[in-house]
Symmetry: C2
Subunit: 352 residues, 2 copies
């Protein structure tokens, strides 16, 4: 039997509750689809800061590097907001992404007809949206040198090299071929040299390796506008680390709830899978958290390991739970009874 | 009589038609409110590239520096998109902003109840939105050094100095005092040193000079999200050049049409006033362009010159035109008859 070792990083706030349900579903999938699964939990983020004074302790990092995949809950919270940058939960996450060489962050966003009423956008603008944001995750201004500050000024460097751009472009074009065959590349080439190189390399990879995919270029300000005015025009959107941070959160507003949005960060040997939502400390520990984003992240994990049938079953389980009204409060309309986190996870595990 | 000299830069596409109407309204205001006005037109952008091979010819720049205010139409278009950065219409605009030391870009965005149906957002989310984006315009990654590229890589520098941040913060707090008393400062302080300095200086200016204003800090990804989920929570939003570029275009989608959004770029001796919309080459020269954004930019110009009563009259004229249905096609619903650009301008000039 194929056998996988998954490292689970529950993290902070609702992270532990939602990863618990995702693990439950993964274990059910292993039984039904005939593969072996072992899991081990390690501290990360604020939880690790409290326990070991480091948002990414050495044993956690070592375990991740040896795993077949990493499932993360959420990190951060107001408790740690006063700390300086390198001592914050977020610093652990950035170091982990870099260490795993997880350079491609994939965030699918769908607004099915049935859920369009929950969107802040008008139904006729948003219903049917189905896009995938591909964000470069280990380069750009997040990691560029020189960086620093003195008493009077501060500076960061937005930097990209050809091969960093080419490899993320390939990820985007490859996904477009499996989807609707269109890529929108986002930059600020009318102002920035680094964006001019971005545009040049994306154009070259397109011409030489993926001429059958349709490629369009957007300036980032216009892309932000179009994501709100006409989100259905997009299929795959590829962009750098900072623009991707902004645009993927923007796109995440389209369904109305963050509670169903998964993400995968891949490219190195080990992939990192996590819900898009944050740690939501205000509802932590109350059984109110929506586990679907974590469970759908687990589906992306299964897909990446080659267990596509299991991934499909998990997604069907999510659809079945929604169809039968087994859902947490954030997805309920007036009059519907919310199900606790655990009941949603159980339902999908049973289905699978 | 007070006397003002206005330099008009019609620019490209619909720029000439909309600035013509704005000048008509300015001249009517001069007559009614007792001040003298002289205007002179100069080429900028693509028009200047064609005529003089330079998107900001020396005589244009000299005239702007000697004017009391500059009114700009729009620059750019697909005809010049293949040119390299320094030879594009946009380069002229960036050099002009810098030369005028117009470091504060003000973009008010309103969604009155009556227009909420035109928004891509649901009425109950967007109706009543009334915010002001204050974007730093002459610093940050747009102008930071070092910048450049070689065959393999490219780099830009996001740089801010204390005094650049302090002066734009003061503009934001000052406007907040005249408005609802709230400032949202936007940065990425959980990742960037330059944003940490930003947050530090904004906090200090707030504490020392404007303690009566309410100040909140947002990460840029969250700000993008909140602008779509709950735009009414914002009053004044202050941010750096690049984040401001993205967020102000995002905010500009809220009313549904770009056709009514003005902007002012101030801070140096001479202010620059321009509609938010672009040059719209597809409808240029057909009398279809909506002149309201240019006319409302002229109102901001009048306000900045100290002619507040005249500015109010122009704004009332715009409301009257809308109320009587004198509006261009972009604002018409099915069944309404659009008025040509010139008729809208005439109506407001007569009203004033
Ligand atoms: C927490 C933060 C450092 C992170 C980022 O900016 O990448 C987050 O916003 C994200 O998008 O995953
Ligand atoms: C044309 C371009 C250089 C400009 C900018 O990025 O500042 C525009 O997008 C704007 O917002 O005025």
């Amino acid at each position: 039997l194929p056998s996988y070792h998954i490292v689970v990083l529950p993290g902070d706030g609702i992270g532990p509750e939602v990863t618990r349900e995702a693990v439950r579903v993964l274990e059910a999938a292993a039984e039904s689809f005939g593969f072996r699964l072992t899991t081990a939990s390690y501290p990360v983020g604020g939880a690790a800061l409290e326990a070991e004074d480091d948002p990414l302790p050495e044993p956690t990092l070592r375990a991740c590097l040896q795993a077949d995949a990493v499932l993360l809950g959420a990190v951060g919270g107001p408790r740690w907001d006063h700390l300086e940058r390198s001592q914050r939960p977020e610093a652990g996450l950035l170091r982990l992404r870099k260490a795993l060489e997880a350079y491609a962050n994939l965030r699918p966003v769908q607004v099915p007809e049935a859920l369009a009423d929950a969107s802040p956008l008008k139904r006729e603008v948003v219903a049917g949206t189905d896009l995938l944001i591909v964000r470069e995750l280990t380069g750009g201004i997040y990691f560029g040198e020189p960086r620093g500050r003195d008493q009077q000024r501060a500076w960061n460097t937005m930097h990209y090299a050809r091969d960093e751009i080419a490899r993320i472009a390939r990820v985007a074009f490859t996904w477009a071929k499996r989807r609707k065959g269109r890529v929108a590349s986002v930059d600020k080439a009318n102002v920035l040299e680094v964006s001019q190189l971005w545009r040049e390399v994306v154009t070259q990879v397109h011409r030489e390796e993926f001429p059958e995919v349709e490629l369009e270029h957007f300036y980032v300000d216009n892309a932000a506008m179009q994501l709100v005015r006409d989100p259905r025009r997009f299929d795959v959107v590829v962009t750098g680390n900072l623009f991707g941070d902004i645009l993927s959160d923007l796109a995440a507003t389209l369904p109305g709830s963050l509670g169903m949005l998964p993400s995968a960060s891949i490219g190195g040997r080990v992939g990192l899978f996590e819900p898009v939502h944050g740690s939501a400390p205000d509802i932590a520990g109350q059984g109110k958290a929506n586990p679907l984003a974590a469970i759908l992240s687990a589906a992306m994990l299964l897909e990446t390991l080659g267990q596509e049938a299991a991934a499909q079953a998990v997604r069907q389980g999510v659809r079945a739970a929604l169809a039968e009204g087994v859902k947490t409060a954030d997805l309920c309309r007036a009059g519907e009874t919310p199900a606790p986190t655990e009941v949603v996870g159980q339902f999908i595990a049973n289905y699978v």
